[in-house]
Subunit: 414 residues, 2 copies
């Protein structure tokens, strides 16, 4: 089964909104064995919407459309769909009741624009939206399916999970694409490719396809089989072979993140973690707590953005900062070991670096980062030098620090 | 001038990578008066790439292609472009020298895959990449332009800024689209629409077009004129009229963020800020420090994720937590006022809430958030109840807390 995704909205074309809906839909469809042929973003103009859906319905059996269904006047998708499918809007009493209940429950007044959201094309099957007021609409044409949903991500996701996937599962059996993705940290794409060149030849000759998915700090390797689950064991074995080769870099598979992986390890050991952060300013703590249940092992942090707070709350002697600088091995050792004591945890990660754009010097350029990990047996430090902009440097730092903790927990020495 | 964007890569279709390149390109092109007709994402397969670029070059004068130019073997874009433009790969000595210098500078060994990156289509004009090893390529066909660039965001951005935009500016005069966007916080889209209904009619009758751009916590209003800068004064006047109506909600325009706006206000007043965070776990500090130069006013934070740290480092009396709970007005008052004293700042924002998915109860449901702002004259608190998932609740909380600080700084009372 082949699907396409169409996202509607001028805000996508002029880049005021990043299209995260397509990525989520792509992921969920792939997991269900549905391949995505194309993603198209078009403006709110009627002709362009019609052009895009007409082309997509010619090519693909399933077309998922998001956006252009909010309560405000610039949303024309619903009217365009009526024209395209040659139908008219009628009030759906069940939807009207639900929209009214939605507002009552939140203690908010219902507005005329919200009432209009219960007017829906007569020719569609309504897919209920339990997280908002714009319904999903399921149309069929020449045996192909088009589903239109609002663009608000959690409303769209709710409609897919509650209504669309169950209905699709009834109608179609899954076909046989199978993916598995391995995640590496701290090794650039071209180095990884060189290191695993022989393995890659072997894998490709076995009929699997391999893709490198690089992003700052993390390179993922995806193996794809078109024989479905049959190849699962083979794929597992190929990946296992790489784990021996690159234990410092391979941290997980599929939905794993560095944050979830270290969380699992700490939980198993029944140990606790804190952070003391300078340039990342809480970004490491935020990343750690993205994993639900992080409160089982994560206690908290000092964000010592200013040098004053490095001394005042993390007790770094002022002369250490004076002599070696805030970005130095000496300072991160103080931050991590003091943080571990003051925050009363088993592990403490500290970070100090120069994220730029300003603050660099010849000796200490932008991108220079020191990380220390205080652990029950001592403290471990590492220096990094990252390229790219401020945002990039910070995200590379966070990932590298988490991987360093992972290696420390596994006692993989440098 | 009309442009299209094509992003290449299976990772986009299966949702392993979110396409942020299109949003950036859309933004930058719009600012230069170039309208974007369509964004298309296709797989790494040759036929699909050719199909997409052929269609786009038929419709639009400028086609920007990103992705599929890395050093690894799954990248076939370069070969596909050779076939499409009927040309062959030749070694470009200048590029080879630059790639070699790139590796030398970083003290990294150059690999054969990197050498291959200096082989480029004979028919293209090479656009140099000063941030990586894959060059940009400028092709022309029947007077239309196609530019292919690597998918790594900061490399693509570098190529656009250093090479493509200057060349486009030479070739074309900008046409006359003019946008301005106003940002609001804390008012749902349908409420905003209802409140400004009369204004909206007036604006539309004056020939401007209006779009609502909702995202969790922030709704943006974009006014667009097709008469270019001529309408700038008119657009400014319409927005100024709204500022009187919604001072609590309107926080800025275009590139402004809540973080940059409060940064500017604090700098002007020469005052300092700290945070004490529970459920947001450093996310507020991270948001504040996204603004370059934040060190002028931001000192740091306590991340008191556990109740133990709320008492241990932020000195909340244990009986306050016991009697009222960690998520309570009493606790956030203690966190903010103690944080302000201990971190020695003029302002301190504290947050405690239930981000879910677990931890909710009938009395204190998931989404319940308390925020306190300790300021030189006292402390101000506010309770929120947000819907959506964990991620959504956290980002709504961060934005609402920043807007609360903004209102406190402006002395807009509730």
């Amino acid at each position: 089964m082949q699907a396409e995704i169409i996202t509607i909205g001028d805000e996508l074309l002029i880049g005021q909104t990043i299209d995260t809906n397509s990525a989520w839909l792509g992921q969920e469809l792939s997991l269900r064995g549905i391949s995505i042929y194309r993603i198209t973003s078009v403006s709110d103009r009627k002709e362009e919407i019609i052009d895009a859906i007409d082309q997509a319905l010619e090519r693909s059996q399933l077309v998922l459309v998001t956006g252009g269904l909010g309560p405000t006047k610039d949303d024309i998708t619903k009217h365009t769909l009526c024209e395209y499918f040659n139908t008219k809007l009628v009030v759906n009493q069940e939807v009207l009741d639900r929209v009214e209940a939605f507002f009552k429950q939140r203690g908010r007044e219902m507005l005329p624009a919200n009432t209009l959201q219960a007017s829906l094309p007569e020719a569609c099957t309504v897919i209920h939206n339990y997280h908002g007021t714009a319904s999903g609409m399921w149309f069929e044409k020449n045996g192909n399916i088009l589903i239109s949903m609002p663009g608000v991500p959690y409303e769209m996701k709710g409609i897919m999970i509650d209504g669309v996937f169950p209905k699709l599962a009834e109608l179609f059996e899954n076909n046989s694409i199978f993916h598995k993705t391995m995640h590496t940290q701290g090794i650039p794409e071209s180095f990884l490719a060189e290191k695993i060149a022989d393995w890659e030849i072997m894998v490709r000759e076995s009929g699997l396809s391999l893709a490198y998915l690089p992003s700052p700090g993390v390179v993922k390797l995806r193996l794809t089989s078109s024989n479905g689950e049959v190849d699962k064991t083979k794929i597992d074995a190929y990946f296992a072979a790489l784990e021996f080769k690159l234990p410092k870099h391979i941290f997980g598979y599929n939905e794993d993140t560095l944050s979830s992986v270290i969380g699992k390890m700490l939980k198993e050991k029944d140990q606790t973690l804190a952070t003391v952060e300078s340039c990342t300013a809480g970004g490491l703590a935020k990343e750690i707590t993205k994993t639900p249940g992080a409160s089982a092992y994560f206690e908290g942090s000092f964000v010592t953005y200013s040098n004053k707070l490095k001394s005042l709350i993390a007790h770094v002697p002022e002369n250490v900062i004076k002599q070696f600088g805030a970005v130095s091995e000496e300072t991160v050792i103080e931050l991590a070991t003091n943080g571990r004591k003051l925050l009363e945890t088993d592990y403490c990660i500290s970070i100090s670096g120069i994220a730029g754009p300003d603050g660099g010097s010849l000796e200490k350029p932008v991108g220079l980062i020191w990380v220390a990990i205080a652990h029950p047996k001592g403290v471990f430090t590492k220096q990094f030098l990252f390229g790219g902009n401020r945002e990039n440097i910070i995200s590379m730092t966070i990932l590298s620090a988490l991987n360093l903790l992972r290696c420390t927990l596994l006692e993989i020495n440098d």
